[in-house]
C-alpha cells in the first residue's frame, strides 16, 4: 500500500481551539452586564446609541475591506469591529445624538484601525481614538450627561420616544435631566474659585451601584470590576495592567487629597469616576496596543493611571483616561523594546550566563 499524504506542513500538527473570535466574544460577555445595567439606568436612548455605534463601526470596517477588494464577512466574524464599537458606545454620553455614534463608529474602524492595516496593526486604541476625536470636535454633545432615568420608571422615555431622542435630539421636556459628572462639576467649581470642600456637597452623588450621571461603562463600576475579574479567570487578561493603572490613579490621588482636600478629590472619587474602571479593565488591556512583557505592562498601566490623574487634575479636560491611554499607546513600542523578558540561559541584558561547573 502506498499513498501520498499531500504537502508537508511544518510542526506542530495540532493547535489550540482558541481563536480571536472566541477572545472577542468573551470580552463582550464580560462587558455585557455593565452595559445591560446601563441600558436599564439610562433607558432606550442609550440602547439605540449603542446599536447605532456598533453598526457604524462594522460598516466602517466592511467599507474599508471592500475598498481593498477583500471580502468583509470573514473579517467581521472575528468580532473585533463589534467590540471596538461597543467600547466606544459605553464611553459616550448615553443620550448623545445618533450622528455622534455614526461618526465615532466610522472613525474608530476606518481611521483608527483599517488605515493602519487592520486588526493587530494599529498603534492606538481605535475606540479611544474615536472618543478623543469626538470630544475635540463636539465638546458640547460629548459632555452633556443625563441623570439616570431607569427604563420603565415614571418620566423615562419609552422605546419610540427613546429612538426620537437619539435621532432628533433631546426635547425640551427632558432638558432638566442634563447635568455634569462629578469630575466635571468639581473642575468647573474650582475654576470659579469655589473649593471642593464647599462644592462637593452639591455635586452629583458618587455611588457604587452607578446611580449617577455618566457613560454606560462609567457608572456601574462594580459590574465592570466583575467583568474584569472574570476575564482574568478566563486568562484573557492578566492582573498587571488593570492593577497598575488603578494604582497609578489611586496613589497620587491619596497623597494629594491628604495634603489638600480642598483642592484635590479623594481616591474613591477618582477610581469610581469617569473611565477609570472601564479603562483599566477593558481599554488599556487591549492586546494590540499594550506591551507584552509583564514588566512592560506594569509600566504601561501605571503610566496610563498617572497620566489620567495628571490630566484630570491639572489639564483642561475633566476626564483623561482616553488621552492617557493614547499617550501610553504611543509608548508601547518603546516599552516593548526596553523591557523584554529574560531569556533562558541569558542574563537580563541578553548575555549568556556564566558556566558554573
Amino acid at each position: 500500500m502506498s499513498q501520498s499524504y499531500g504537502i508537508a506542513v511544518a510542526a506542530p500538527h495540532t493547535t489550540t481551539s482558541n481563536n480571536p473570535g472566541r477572545i472577542m466574544t468573551l470580552v463582550m460577555l464580560a462587558l455585557a452586564p455593565a452595559t445591560l445595567y446601563g441600558f436599564w439606568l439610562y433607558g432606550w436612548p442609550a440602547f439605540f446609541l449603542w446599536a447605532i455605534t456598533i453598526a457604524a463601526a462594522m460598516s466602517g470596517e466592511a467599507f474599508s475591506l471592500r475598498w481593498q477588494n477583500r471580502s468583509a464577512a470573514p473579517v467581521l466574524q472575528d468580532g473585533s469591529a463589534i467590540l471596538t464599537g461597543w467600547l466606544l458606545a459605553v464611553s459616550l454620553p448615553p443620550w448623545a445624538p445618533w450622528w455622534i455614534g455614526v461618526f465615532g463608529g466610522l472613525f474608530a474602524t476606518m481611521l483608527g484601525k483599517q488605515a493602519f492595516g487592520g486588526l493587530g496593526q494599529n498603534l492606538f486604541n481605535p475606540a479611544m481614538v474615536a472618543r478623543v476625536a469626538l470630544l475635540i470636535s463636539f465638546p458640547v454633545q460629548m459632555t452633556a450627561w443625563v441623570a439616570p432615568a431607569p427604563m420603565f420608571s415614571a418620566g423615562a422615555p419609552g422605546m419610540l420616544e427613546g429612538l426620537l431622542i437619539v435621532l432628533k435630539g433631546v426635547p425640551h421636556s427632558f432638558d432638566a435631566v442634563t447635568s455634569a459628572t462629578m469630575l466635571g462639576f468639581g473642575k468647573t467649581e474650582l475654576s470659579r474659585g469655589i473649593n471642593l470642600l464647599e462644592s462637593l456637597p452639591h455635586a452629583p452623588a458618587l455611588s457604587f451601584i452607578g446611580n449617577r450621571p455618566g457613560s454606560l461603562g462609567e457608572t456601574a463600576a462594580l459590574l465592570i470590576l466583575a467583568g474584569g475579574v472574570a476575564m482574568m479567570f478566563l486568562r484573557i487578561i492578566t492582573w498587571h495592567i488593570p492593577l497598575s493603572m488603578l494604582a497609578g490613579i489611586a496613589i497620587p490621588a491619596a497623597i494629594l487629597h491628604a495634603v489638600d482636600p480642598s483642592r484635590y478629590l479623594d481616591m474613591g472619587a477618582h477610581i469610581l469616576s469617569g473611565g477609570a474602571m472601564l479603562g483599566a479593565f477593558f481599554i488599556a488591556t487591549d492586546y494590540v496596543t499594550s506591551p507584552n512583557s509583564p514588566r512592560g505592562q506594569l509600566i504601561f498601566g501605571f503610566g496610563c493611571g498617572a497620566l489620567t490623574y495628571v490630566i484630570r487634575t491639572w489639564a483642561g479636560y475633566p476626564e483623561g483616561v482616553a488621552f492617557a491611554v493614547l499617550l501610553m499607546n504611543s509608548m508601547t513600542p518603546i516599552i516593548d523594546t526596553y523591557f523584554k523578558p529574560r531569556i533562558y540561559g541569558r542574563d537580563s541584558k541578553g548575555k549568556p550566563l556564566q558556566t558554573t561547573n
Partner: protein
C-alpha cells in the same frame, strides 16, 4: 496545600495540549513479527553516515554489523533480521523533503537467528571506557528523537566530570507512549542502563524525571529503583515541553544551562529512558540496537498501541499489522508538536522513531492563519522566554537580522508558540525558515570572506613580487652603476697614482 504546591512548582512556561496517550498507552506491548524485507538506512543518527561492509547476496545474522561508523560522531548499523542482503540502494528518507537516502535491504529468512553475543559479565568492575566502547559498538544513539550517538556523549560527560545523570522519562509529546511502555514493561532494564551510564560518565546520582500523567510508569520505576538509593525517581508536572533537556534540567536541578554552553558543562547530562534500556541490552546482553518500541497512534489507526519492531521495517507494514480505519489525512514521524510530516508510508522506521501517527481528517485540520493580535500567548508559552510575535513580525518583512537580535537562535522549535496562537500563525515555520536562511547567509559570508582573504593575499603577493622585482631591478641598476663607476674609478686612481 496541593493547589499551592502546584502553583509554586509548576513552571510559568509551556502548554497543555490534549495528550491523547490513552488508550494506546494502556494496550499491552505487541511484538511485530519480522517482515519479509527490511530496509536499514545508513544514516539513522546525527553525524557521519555509516559505511556498508557487506555485499549483495551475503548472508547475515540478526545483530551482525552491516555498516561501520565513519568519523568521530557516527554510529554503526546492524542487521535487524537474519537473511540475505538483497540490495544496497536508496529508499525515501523519513524527512519532509521525501528525498532518497542510502539503505541496505535485507530479505529476511524468517528465522531471526541472532549472532553470537558477547555480554560484559561484571560491567561495574570494568573500566568506564569499556562501557563507552561497547555502547558505541552497539550503535546506541539518543532514542528520544535527537539520535545523537550515545558514546561521544558519555566521553564528554566523563571529561567534564558530570555528577548528575538525568534520565528523561518526560515523554511530553502528545500521542506517544513508547517511553511509558519501556518504563512499565522493562523498568529493571532502564534502571540498570541508567546505572551503567552513571558508571561510564562517573556520575554519583541519577534523577529520573517522569511526568505525572504516567502513574503506572512511576510506580514500576520506583519499585525497580528501590534497591539503588543513588537512582531517584522524580515525578514532574505534565507540561509540554518538559522533555526538552534544558527545561528538564532546570526543573529537576534548578540549574539553568547558559545559552552558549552544553548541558554537560554545568555538570549534568540527559539521557532518555529508552536509550538507557538500549545501553543495558548492549552491555548485559551484548545486543546491538536493532529493535525498538514504537507507538502507532492517531485517529486513522484501528488498533493503536505500542509495537516492538525491528528497525528498518516499512511504516506501511506496521499499518497493515495494526489496521487502518480510514486513509490517513496526515502521517507524522514522532509527536504532533515537533514531529516530521511524511509524504507516504514506504519509509522505514529508524532508531529515533518513537512513534508514527496517522491522523484522520479532523485531527489533521489546521485552521487558516489570521493576523497577529499581539495577545502575547506565545510569549507566555515560550519555554525559552523568547518573544515569538516580535521575531515573526520581523521575519515576515524579511528583517532576519532583526529577528536574530531577539535571540532567534535560542529557539528550540518546540512549537508551543504556534500551538497556543489563537490566530494559528505557523510561527515555527517562520523561525525554521529564518534559521535556515541565516545559516546559509553565514556560510556564504564565510565563503566570501575566505575568497576575499585569498584575493587580498594574492594582491599582496603580486604587489610584493612587483616591489621585489622593482627593488631587484633597482639594485641591479645600482650595481651596474657602481660597477660602471668602479670601472671608471680605478682608472682615475691609477691616473692619480700615476700622477702621484
Amino acid at each position: 496545600m496541593g493547589f499551592l504546591d502546584r502553583f509554586l512548582k509548576t513552571p510559568s512556561w509551556g502548554v497543555h495540549p490534549e495528550d491523547h496517550k490513552r488508550p494506546a498507552a494502556d494496550v499491552a506491548l505487541r511484538i511485530f513479527p519480522t517482515p519479509e524485507r527490511i530496509f536499514m538506512p545508513l544514516n539513522q543518527h546525527v553525524g557521519g553516515m555509516a559505511r556498508p561492509i557487506v555485499m549483495v547476496g551475503q548472508k547475515v545474522l540478526k545483530g551482525q554489523l552491516i555498516a561501520e561508523a565513519q568519523g568521530n560522531i557516527s554510529a554503526p548499523i546492524h542487521a535487524s533480521a537474519s537473511g540475505t542482503i538483497s540490495a544496497i540502494g536508496e529508499v525515501t528518507a523519513p524527512h519532509p523533503s521525501g528525498l532518497p537516502f542510502k539503505a541496505i535491504t535485507i530479505d529476511s529468512d524468517g528465522a531471526d537467528r541472532w549472532i553470537d553475543t558477547d555480554p560484559l559479565v561484571d560491567p561495574f568492575s570494568a573500566a568506564p571506557e569499556e562501557i563507552t566502547k561497547r555502547t558505541a559498538a552497539a550503535g546506541v544513539v539518543g532514542l528520544g528523537g535527537a539520535t545523537f550517538p550515545a558514546a561521544p556523549k558519555f566521553a564528554l560527560g566523563k571529561r567534564l566530570k558530570v555528577k548528575t545523570l538525568i534520565v528523561n522519562g518526560g515523554e511530553c509529546e502528545p500521542y506517544l507512549s513508547s517511553d511509558d511502555r519501556v518504563m512499565r514493561d522493562f523498568p529493571e532494564m532502564v534502571i540498570d542502563g541508567a546505572r551503567l551510564v552513571m558508571h561510564a560518565i562517573g556520575a554519583t546520582e541519577a534523577l529520573v524525571g517522569i511526568e505525572d500523567n504516567k502513574p503506572e510508569a512511576i510506580a514500576a520505576m520506583r519499585k525497580a529503583a528501590a534497591a539503588f538509593p543513588e537512582v531517584k525517581i522524580r515525578p514532574l508536572p505534565a507540561l509540554y515541553p518538559m522533555g526538552s533537556d534544558r527545561q528538564l534540567i532546570k526543573v529537576l536541578t534548578g540549574i539553568e544551562v547558559p545559552s552558549d554552553a552544553r548541558a554537560a558543562e554545568t555538570g549534568v547530562l540527559v539521557h532518555n529512558v529508552s536509550t538507557c534500556a538500549a545501553v543495558h541490552k548492549a552491555i548485559r546482553l551484548g545486543q546491538p540496537l536493532v529493535e525498538r518500541i514504537i507507538t502507532i497512534n492517531g485517529g486513522a489507526i484501528a488498533n493503536p498501541g505500542n509495537l516492538f519492531a525491528p528497525l528498518g521495517t516499512m511504516i506501511g507494514d506496521l499499518f497493515a499489522f495494526v489496521g487502518l480505519k480510514e486513509a490517513p489525512s496526515r502521517l507524522i514521524l514522532g509527536g504532533p508538536m515537533m514531529g516530521t510530516p511524511l509524504l507516504h508510508d514506504r519509509i522505514p522506521i529508524v532508531k529515533g522513531a518513537s512513534g508514527i501517527l496517522a491522523f484522520n481528517a479532523v485531527e489533521a485540520h489546521v485552521p487558516d492563519a489570521g493576523p497577529c493580535i499581539r495577545c502575547g500567548s506565545c510569549t507566555k508559552a515560550c519555554p525559552m522566554g523568547l518573544l515569538p510575535l516580535e521575531m515573526a513580525a520581523r521575519i515576515k518583512v524579511g528583517d532576519l537580522e532583526g529577528a536574530e537580535a531577539y535571540a532567534l537562535q535560542d529557539c528550540i522549535s518546540c512549537g508551543c508558540c504556534a500551538y497556543v496562537c489563537p490566530s494559528h500563525i505557523p510561527l515555527v515555520q517562520y523561525f525554521s525558515h529564518a534559521k535556515g536562511e541565516l545559516t546559509a547567509a553565514e556560510r556564504t559570508k564565510l565563503r566570501t570572506d575566505a575568497t576575499k582573504r585569498l584575493a587580498e593575499a594574492k594582491a599582496a603577493r603580486i604587489e610584493r613580487e612587483n616591489r621585489e622585482k622593482a627593488e631587484a631591478a633597482a639594485r641591479r641598476k645600482a650595481e651596474r652603476e657602481a660597477a660602471k663607476a668602479a670601472a671608471a674609478t680605478p682608472a682615475t686612481t691609477e691616473k692619480q697614482g700615476v700622477s702621484a
